[in-house]
């Protein structure tokens, strides 16, 4: 192209000039206009967490092509929201399902989207329990599963329907079943008091929630649960680990009237950069090549056009209930207006109310920018108008507790519901003075003690702890309080400033929770963590 030739000529001129100067000046020892710097080849992809299992395959691509792939994991709904924003700071998107891609890409900036693999959303139920429930060796409907839950025969874990595709898919499946499998869910259906009662009851059987499918699997492996709703490929992954450590594996149940498929589309975000586009196409071609599709299939995903190959049948084990040859006949997703109405109702009416304790660091080191970031992050969660944009709005029965701390607990405030008390909590967050040392354990212990006043079975409880420094006190103080509580309450922490990651990891491990990194983007971290309860 003409422009390129122009550029070459210009470069020639510059290089010749540079050469002249280099030749004339005999004191130029080290040439600092080295050609080493030519911008690293990197593709930044925002992806559903389930794809973290494919990282080894992406690393091979990097080794082969010299193009680094930088993965950022977020829920599919976050990806959908991001696609609607002015700036998309990624080169490609890879949500769990094309539903979120098409719904989000209203400005038509995504091109070359192609499905990389398929995996259905299924139930994984402990083998012996599945047998006991009579779910083995026959077709199971969502209603079968629901009645077992209603009879208290088992409880399950699922991701949040408003944050993650697997949770949303399962939830829509539940709605169909409870409505008696109509052709399509309508907005009127959702207003039925009978349905509302039933969904609420059903979701009260949810043991633990999560904002991401991959972490749900990790959490499941760390805890003691009966069942989870997740992608077939992640149940396979969980089973491989369960079997390796000699534990009982999960039996896969495909609810015939409530199945959904995640088709994992990888699409390019077009910002007019031809080089990036070429790199993207290279990656996509690589992922869709026969060899790599086969590797992807070995991770338990259904890839390619011709079903599961003979050599990979050992991955889709029939003794785990897997049906590699099953015709996967999914339910139809409602149109987006009804879908969003479903999601809003899940958040405000149907799911178990959250009981969230915010332990927030107001030590001296937080002063200035740290405190400003904290206040603006909390504004996104507590001010409902903001929260609603991310499907994080509070429900009527929700409880939010604020415990600001430094070297000791400063105070504790409780806000019930989603009205003025909650917004007043934000005023406390904003107006609290900063100063003093750091003892996050003291705050966490106070939080635990306050939780004792509630019937925790009626809530999804969590402690969200933000700290920016090495904490005084010790985890043993926390442990004894936690044991007296005798309930599983995850302590999610957000690492900020110079926080000690080991201290936070220990808390997370002890309570089967996880640590979020808020150093890059604190608001994002708070948003993610809120998606977990």
């Amino acid at each position: 192209m003409k422009n390129k030739k122009k550029l070459i000529v210009l470069l020639l001129i510059i290089m010749t000039l540079a050469g002249l100067f280099a030749g004339c000046g005999d004191d130029s020892g080290d040439d600092n206009h080295d050609s080493d710097y030519d911008g690293e080849a990197v593709l930044r992809i925002i992806s559903g967490s389930e794809n973290s299992e494919l990282e080894p395959i992406l690393e091979e691509f990097t080794a082969k092509e010299g193009i680094r792939v930088e993965m950022t994991y977020q829920g599919s709904l976050d990806i959908m929201r991001l696609l609607g924003e002015e700036e998309i700071p990624y080169d490609a998107v890879w949500p769990a399902s094309s539903l979120w891609l098409s719904t989000g890409d209203t400005q038509h900036r995504v091109k070359h989207a192609e499905s990389i693999s398929i995996t259905p959303v299924v139930f994984g139920i402990r083998q012996s329990l599945a047998e006991e429930l009579g779910f083995v060796g026959r077709e199971v409907s969502v209603s079968d599963i629901l009645s077992a839950i209603q009879e208290d025969k088992f409880s399950f874990c699922m991701t949040s329907a408003t944050q993650s595709n697997s949770g949303a898919s399962a939830y829509i499946g539940f709605l169909y079943a409870l409505l008696g499998n109509p052709e399509m869910i309508t907005a009127e259906d959702l207003q039925s008091p009978q349905l509302q009662g039933q969904v609420t009851e059903l979701l009260s059987g949810v043991d633990r929630s999560s904002g991401s499918s991959d972490w749900l699997k990790d959490m499941f492996l760390e805890g003691d649960y009966d069942a989870m709703v997740n992608y077939e490929c992640l149940i396979i992954k969980a089973n491989e680990e369960l079997e390796a450590r000699g534990d009982e594996t999960l039996h896969v149940v495909y609810p015939y009237d409530g199945l959904s498929l995640a088709d994992s589309p990888l699409g390019y975000v077009d910002k007019g950069d031809d080089e990036k586009e070429k790199m993207f196409l290279k990656l996509q071609e690589y992922l869709l090549s026969e060899d790599v599709q086969n590797q992807i299939q070995r991770t338990g995903r259904r890839s390619g056009y011709t079903g599961i190959s003979d050599e990979n049948r050992d991955v889709f084990r029939s003794d785990w209930g897997l049906q590699p040859d099953r015709v996967l006949s999914p339910i139809k997703m409602p149109a987006s207006d009804v879908l969003f109405e479903c999601l809003n109702l899940y958040q405000t009416d149907f799911k178990k109310p959250s009981l969230t304790v915010y332990c927030l660091d107001y030590s001296g080191s937080m002063s200035g920018e740290g405190n400003e970031q904290l206040v603006s992050a909390m504004e996104q969660l507590l001010i409902q108008e903001n929260a609603r944009k991310n499907f994080l709005q509070a429900s009527e029965n929700e409880v939010n507790i604020l415990i600001p701390f430094e070297g000791q607990v400063i105070n504790a405030y409780t806000a019930r519901g989603n009205g003025s008390e909650l917004e007043a909590l934000y005023d406390k967050v904003r107006d609290q003075e900063v100063g003093g040392g750091t003892d996050m354990y003291a705050a966490a212990v106070r939080g635990i003690n306050m939780l004792k006043e509630y019937d925790l079975s009626q809530y999804t409880p969590a402690i969200i702890l933000l700290t920016d420094g090495q904490s005084a006190g010790s985890i043993s103080d926390f442990e004894s309080a936690y044991q007296r509580l005798d309930a599983e309450v995850p302590v999610f922490s957000i690492m900020f400033g110079d926080a000690d990651e080991t201290q936070l990891e220990m808390l997370a491990q002890y309570t089967n929770a996880r640590v979020f990194d808020g150093r890059e983007n604190l608001t994002e971290a708070f948003r993610s963590v809120k998606g977990y309860n």
Binding site: Y256, P265, D270, A335, S336
Partner: protein, 351 residues
């Protein structure tokens, strides 16, 4: 002294550079034009052979963003040189909203077809909804529509492995062309002729109930077709698309096609409608696209590699190279689409 020398040297380099610059620039001026394109034509615009002809013979580089045919008419087209939707209704809508464009021309044609799997095709044959003549599958639109309206389940027609009732998966008719045209085709079928304002009131509620059953719909034909192939018979038992999509897929992926051809069936609706891909030039730069795309060689490649029946290539002289069975030689049963006002009413009713 030394600085003078350097000064001279710089001057020399600048002069040489300037001369080189002029010499090297003395070639055809390359124009890059940008516009919205329906997804089904992307394979063609990405075709290197076609790109080369456009570049070498017309000095043209076509850049695009993907958009549904209906969507692109209402989208913000600031900075775009052209729109390339997949039907004439889009053009009529454009004219209604913006007045006559600088220039417009039909570039490609392809009929609306249905795609399915062999087991489903077999069941449709058994039930008399489809028929087979000279190796070509035809589907009786009246019978198919009746089955859909009656809420017939897949199990009822002998496919218990499929959940739910008989539907045709389409793209969102309010956003994308293939869905839009299929809605037009259904409207024609429901009134037993060509739908117009006189029979709309009777048709619309029925049409709404057919589409309401589909729920969420893809907004691009190429995404729908990709999902049809990849998610298997269960997810997309029967979809509406363009004839060109399968022909192009077979040419581009001969090995994959070889593996799956036994299972994929193309059905021609009786009657069907033509999707006429019309190019709308928005400015002077965009106009150049028309001549370039109507180039005889481009048109030939459009058929051979991308499956579009073209103006110059009316009847497919050679269809064997696709390796696809059951391509209809010529389509005799074709109905006109309802006019733009009727289609507009249909789109509004389905929004």
């Amino acid at each position: 002294m030394k600085t003078k020398l350097i000064g001279l040297a710089i001057l020399l380099v600048v002069i040489i550079g300037a001369v080189l610059y002029v010499v090297l620039s003395d070639e055809k001026e390359m124009t890059e034009i940008n516009g919205f394109v329906g997804g089904e034509k992307i394979g063609m615009l990405e075709d290197e052979e076609i790109q080369e002809i456009l570049r070498d013979d017309y000095g043209l580089v076509i850049d695009y963003a993907k958009a549904g045919s209906i969507d692109m008419i209402s989208a913000d087209s600031t900075g775009k040189d052209f729109l390339f939707p997949s039907n004439q209704t889009a053009l009529e809508l454009y004219i209604q909203q913006n007045g006559t464009p600088r220039k417009s021309e039909i570039i490609l044609n392809t009929p609306i077809v249905l795609y399915t799997r062999s087991a489903v095709a077999e069941a449709l044959l058994q039930k008399g909804i489809a028929s087979k003549t000279d190796g070509v599958y035809y589907v009786d639109m009246e019978k198919l529509t009746a089955a859909i309206e009656a809420g017939t389940s897949w199990a009822d027609i002998g496919l218990p492995q499929l959940y739910g009732s008989v539907t045709v998966g389409t793209t969102d008719p309010t956003k994308s062309n293939s869905g839009n045209m299929f809605a037009g085709l259904l409207a024609n079928t429901l009134c037993g002729g060509v739908a117009d304002e006189s029979n709309l009131s009777e048709i619309l509620p029925r049409l709404q109930s057919i589409f309401q059953k589909l729920g969420y719909m893809e907004s691009s034909s190429s995404d729908l077709f990709d999902q049809f192939l990849k998610t298997g018979m269960g997810a997309k038992p029967l979809i509406a698309g363009y004839e060109s999509q399968l022909l192009e897929f077979a040419v581009e992926n001969p090995d994959t096609w070889e593996q799956i051809k036994e299972d994929i069936v193309m059905l021609y609706p009786t009657p069907t409608v033509w999707s006429s891909h019309v190019y709308i030039a928005l400015d002077e730069a965009g106009e150049a696209g028309i001549d370039a795309l109507l180039d005889e060689e481009v048109q030939k490649l459009a058929w051979e590699k991308h499956g579009f029946r073209t103006g110059v290539y009316d009847t497919p002289t050679d269809k064997d190279h696709f390796g696809v069975d059951g391509i209809a030689e010529e389509l005799t049963q074709v109905a006109p689409m309802p006019d733009a006002a009727t289609m507009d009413a249909i789109i509004k009713a389905l929004s």
